[in-house]
């Protein structure tokens, strides 16, 4: 099953022309940061040191919220945990190189552990983004309460002060914060543009499709939150050393929301926007808020509401969005490896019953599917066809009866696990990633086979020949670098089908793949399906209304009517049966 690619495809060079420009910009900034203390006064150095630490926090919020769609108010908690871990060690254990090392390690590990816990709480199958947001509110509140209750150990409301810090001096803290910011921003910039970065955006844009591509969305979210918790903790370590104080407010929800403001105003999903937003607002605030704090906060509040309403992309949205001119990746063919045509059932469904309360959707369904079979499911509206496909592909649906796929009972397995067993599902309404290009969508479909790299983009995509056929026949192979949002309905349907095929599933579930397609497109999809099943030994279950189409491509037809499987047999037999005629002309009744 695992088609590990032996000859690794050519990796795209990281630094394209536009990348080179940015690298130069990065070097320039680096020089500015290193030389800054020579011409900046102490005030500016001190304020900017903190602003730059804040900017890193804003980038973590951007990665979570802007790129992955997790609106979090709780990054402050991890920042606070890191800062307090540092201050507590240095206060109660003392200074010395060893203790600084210990503080550094703990300031990363503790927030990561906390973040992992928060991640576990926030992300589970069918958890909602709203729920994750609310949890992210609770975390800083509980943490700051704990700090308050810590008495003289944590310094309570007064915070901790007077502990030994790394004696670097203001100028070097400025340089350290600057270098850290540039490194982190650069790293974040590379990652969000890498293949792995596409996974984050996939989760933000269409978590369901991502899960049905086998991407373990919750796991990715938890890992991301954990890693960024560690980064936040590291920022806390820097802060505790540079600022020489920790206070409960840095772990609080107010600070967490401030980061959202920086990110929103600077421009979510742009890395540099939030960083500049944080520096700009914190630095301007230092200049302005001293004398008119309420007016300053009022201005920020109004600006924030206006931005959310009218400029969701923030100030970064004012810049013209550069059309991604990445060269189209090359497509490579995976060797066809016909599935062994075993006599054993690939899928077997026994006694399936699905009800919502008193409303029974499916009842008493028995079905076996063998490799190489293409089964069409027909039946009038409301017969339960789509529900049937959902039950086959999501083991967490509450059902009665058993569904086994490749010998494994799928009960309790979320879609990504069922996908791992060899199911590919194509939705009724084409489900693709709107903000991506055709090539990016295809590469995501291969994510479970070729682990997406964090550092760059693969320049080639390995696809099975059937997927390539679909692309070639529809002309999608000429549009690899084009954004999905510009594709026609038929093209999207074909793209989704190609994505599903690219996953090399053993059983493909298709929900009305031809709805709204032209005659030519239908024929094309029919050809592909025939080839997949008859030549390559895939199995497929197809929901279809167009009986002419069904007749052309199926070997077997299953008729669902009012939640029951009323017929299962060879095409000719079923099509010509009185039962089907009567169901379709409305004469059949229980």
């Amino acid at each position: 099953m695992a088609d590990r690619v032996h000859s690794s495809p050519k990796r795209g060079r990281l630094l394209t022309r536009h990348g080179t420009g940015l690298a130069l910009l990065g070097l320039l900034t680096l020089a500015l940061v290193l030389l800054g203390p020579l011409f900046l006064d102490r005030f500016t150095q001190n304020v900017l040191t903190r602003s730059m630490i804040y900017a890193m926090m804003a980038i973590t919020v951007d990665l979570l919220w802007g790129y992955t769609g997790i609106l979090t108010f709780g990054q402050s908690a991890f920042f606070g945990a890191g800062a307090y871990a540092t201050a507590l060690i240095l206060t109660h254990v003392g200074g010395g190189a060893q203790n600084f090392a210990l503080a550094l390690v703990l300031s990363v590990i503790l927030p990561m552990a906390l973040a992992a816990l928060v991640g576990w709480l926030s992300f589970y199958h069918k958890s909602t983004p709203l729920y994750a947001s609310v949890i992210s509110l609770v975390v800083p509140i509980v943490l700051s309460q704990a700090i308050f209750a810590g008495g003289s150990f944590t310094g309570s409301s007064s915070g901790l002060v007077g502990y030994p810090v790394m004696k670097l001096g203001a100028a070097n803290y400025f340089r350290l914060a600057g270098v850290a910011l540039i490194l982190f921003a650069g790293l974040a910039w590379i990652i969000v543009r890498s293949d792995a970065g596409r996974v984050l955006i996939a989760i933000r844009d269409n978590p369901l499709r991502a899960a049905y591509l086998g991407i373990r969305t919750q796991r990715v979210q938890i890992i991301l939150m954990t890693v960024l918790g560690g980064v936040a903790g590291l920022c806390g370590f820097l802060y505790a050393n540079a600022g020489r104080i920790v206070a409960p407010e840095i772990a609080g929800f107010g600070f967490g929301t401030q980061m959202i403001v920086w990110t929103a105003l600077g421009g979510r999903a742009s890395i540099f926007g939030p960083a500049l937003g944080a520096i700009g607002i914190d630095y301007l605030g230092a200049q302005l808020s001293g004398s008119m704090p309420y007016v300053w906060q009022l201005i920020i509040g109004v600006l924030f509401v206006v931005m959310i309403l009218f400029m969701p992309r923030g100030l970064a949205g004012l810049l013209p969005r550069r059309q991604r001119t990445a060269a189209a990746p090359t497509l490579a063919t995976l060797p066809d490896r016909p599935q062994e045509s075993s006599k054993d059932a690939l899928l077997s469904v026994t006694g399936l019953r699905k009800a919502y309360g008193n409303f029974v959707v499916l009842d008493g369904i028995e079905l076996e599917v063998r490799p190489g079979e293409l089964i069409s499911v027909v039946g009038p509206n409301g017969a339960g066809k789509t529900t049937f496909l959902r039950c086959l592909s999501d083991g967490t649906e509450t059902i009665q009866g058993t569904i086994t796929l490749a010998g494994q009972n799928i009960a309790g397995r979320p879609p990504e696990d069922v996908v791992a067993l060899g199911i590919g599902r194509k939705f009724q309404v084409a489900s693709v990633f709107e903000s991506m290009t055709v090539a990016e969508c295809l590469r995501l479909a291969r994510a479970t086979h070729e682990r997406p790299t964090l550092w760059n983009r693969a320049s080639g995509i390995h696809l099975p020949s059937a997927a390539l056929d679909i692309l070639a026949l529809t002309g999608l192979d000429k549009k690899l670098a084009e954004p999905v949002s510009g594709l026609s309905h038929g093209m999207r349907q074909s793209l989704e089908l190609a994505m599903v095929v690219a996953m090399l599933p053993r059983l493909i579930l298709l929900d009305e793949p031809t709805a709204g397609l032209t005659k030519a497109e239908r024929t094309l999809i029919g050809e592909v399906l025939k080839r997949l099943t008859q030549e390559l030994g895939y199995a497929a279950i197809l929901i279809e209304h167009d009986l002419d189409f069904v007749k052309e491509i199926s070997q077997r037809i299953v008729v669902l009517h009012q939640g029951r499987l009323v017929m299962d047999g060879p095409v000719e037999e079923v099509v010509n049966s009185e039962l089907v005629r009567s169901i379709y002309s409305g004469m059949a009744h229980d």
Binding site: G357, N358, F359, P380, N381, G382, V429, A430, S488, H489, R492, E512, A515, G516, H545, D546, L547, D548, K551, Q562, V575, V580, R581, Y584, S585, G586, M587, H589, D590
Partner: protein, 234 residues
Amino acid sequence: MTDDRLVIEALTSGYGETDILQGATLTLRRGEILALMGRNGMGKTTLLKTVMGLIPTRGGRVSLDGVPINGKPPAWLLAQGVGYAPQELPLFQDLSIRDNLRLALRGDRDLATALKIVERNFPFLLERLDQLAGTLSGGEQKMLILSRALMTEPDILLIDEISEGIQPSVVQRIETALKAEREQRGVSILVVEQNLGFALGVADRWAVMKLGQIVDEGACDAASRETVLKHLSI
């Protein structure tokens, strides 16, 4: 004044990127029952929804007694005497029959008067007003849906697959009710149907829809069953 009441011309609409209706043209005349048939996914329900203003029109026009009604909200159409019995999730399952009926009353109409109309066709509903709609059997639910549409005494009635999944005796009652409404009040009725027997039994004319367009229409007579079946069949 012509007898054309609801005129649909080259209507296009759909969801997302997809045009489900692709230039459908159809006319509902005064006092007639017109059966619109076609297989699943061909755009029949979308046609009704578009006319009712539940889906925005993308092209073509709809007019009521010569007045264009494109883009009018459902509330406006209901006020003009257009009644609608939807197919998908047509009832508030967790509300009582009474509340389900009340929700369809607009403005100054009171429930008592409306219930008299319900009583004419389906008196059993009046005895069970406090029962939750979700606890009714499939056929009873259909009768409730129809009662709700008839209750406001519409001049034009759009009905979506009312016969779906119910037993013949209930189909018969519905047929009787629709015919009675037409006889007594001269209502024009458009029924979207997959049940050939019911459709041809109740209607004066039929039309067949395929891939978002009306492909054939005719008067209901002895020959129409074969003609329509040919369009629908396999």
